[in-house]
């Protein structure tokens, strides 16, 4: 590897925390398993939200489905960030210069951006809809983008080991 990682990531990897993660027998594997389990829960909750936005599960009230699934998705996302930070810290200087990891970070930013646009805009027109009402195009776009972006994030995550 010829590229150099920014100093802050070298420092993070060489920190006491980084050493503790690497030297613990179980912390890294537990974080690794937890990251995948949290992904499954996140993807499940997210799929329910996105399918509802796309007009599926039409017999349900959008607000109820979206808000309940969102609670689960947010909790799972927090767990993913926490476990991801553990995995990242153990090998920060290499992972940060991995092109697939950089793409993953950009996609996460895009996913959160899409979420922000939904939360502060599209949501208002969706939550007051009755069961069976047609979804506005903006909601369908948000749902489709969300599905595509987060699936790509997961694909990038798995691909870090191969680049």
């Amino acid at each position: 590897m010829t590229e150099e990682a920014p100093a802050i990531f070298v420092a993070l990897e060489q920190s006491g925390l980084g050493a503790a993660i690497r030297q613990s027998t179980w912390l890294f594997p537990v974080a690794n398993v937890g990251h995948i389990l949290a992904l499954m829960v996140f993807a499940g909750a997210l799929a329910i939200m996105d399918v509802r936005l796309l007009g599926g599960l039409a017999a349900t009230a959008p607000a109820r489905v979206l808000m309940r699934a969102r609670t689960v998705a947010v909790a799972a996302l927090i767990l993913q960030v926490a476990t991801g930070f553990i995995l990242f810290t153990a090998d920060a200087s290499h992972v940060i210069i991995n092109p697939v990891f950089q793409l993953k970070l950009a996609l996460i930013a895009a996913g959160l951006g899409n979420l922000a646009i939904f939360e502060f805009g599209v949501k208002r027109s969706v939550v007051k809809l009755s069961p069976g009402a047609a979804m506005p195009a903006s909601a369908k776009t948000a749902g489709l983008l969300s599905l595509a972006i987060w699936l790509a994030v997961a694909a990038c995550g798995r691909s870090i080991a191969y680049f």
Partner: protein, 120 residues
């Protein structure tokens, strides 16, 4: 009875799951050249019993190899404890050279003090 399209969909899902499993099993071996196996023999210069993979450096004739081993939980469950790969021990590591990092190899198995330990 399952309808034919359902059966077909389930077959595709099952096949994908198997493929995904195979990919996970080969975690991180992609950047090592299995067509050019090498055996690195010598005294261990430095040793890190760490996750995600333990590593040792070994002087082999003219150069110093970094030998990537396995996760510590797997190594210890197979008897390859921290003491087995302690600095100064003579090690023989059979594995594959990295296609990305010069003088790095990933060990398929190591032999220390007459005992062989599989790394995957």
């Amino acid at each position: 009875m399952l309808k034919a399209p359902m059966l077909k969909a389930m077959t595709v899902v099952a096949a994908s799951a198997l493929l995904a499993g195979a990919a996970v099993a080969h975690h991180g071996w992609g950047s090592y050249d299995a067509a050019k196996p090498v055996t690195v023999e010598g005294a261990i210069l430095t040793s890190k019993y760490e996750n995600p993979h333990a590593t040792v450096t070994v002087r082999n004739e003219s150069k110093v190899w970094t030998v990537t081993l396995a996760p510590t939980s797997r190594m210890s469950s197979r008897g390859a404890s921290e003491k087995v790969i302690a600095v100064g021990n003579k090690i023989s590591a059979y594995g594959y050279p990295s296609t990305a990092t010069p003088d790095e190899m990933r060990a398929e198995r190591i032999t220390v003090d007459g005992k062989t330990y599989e790394m995957r």
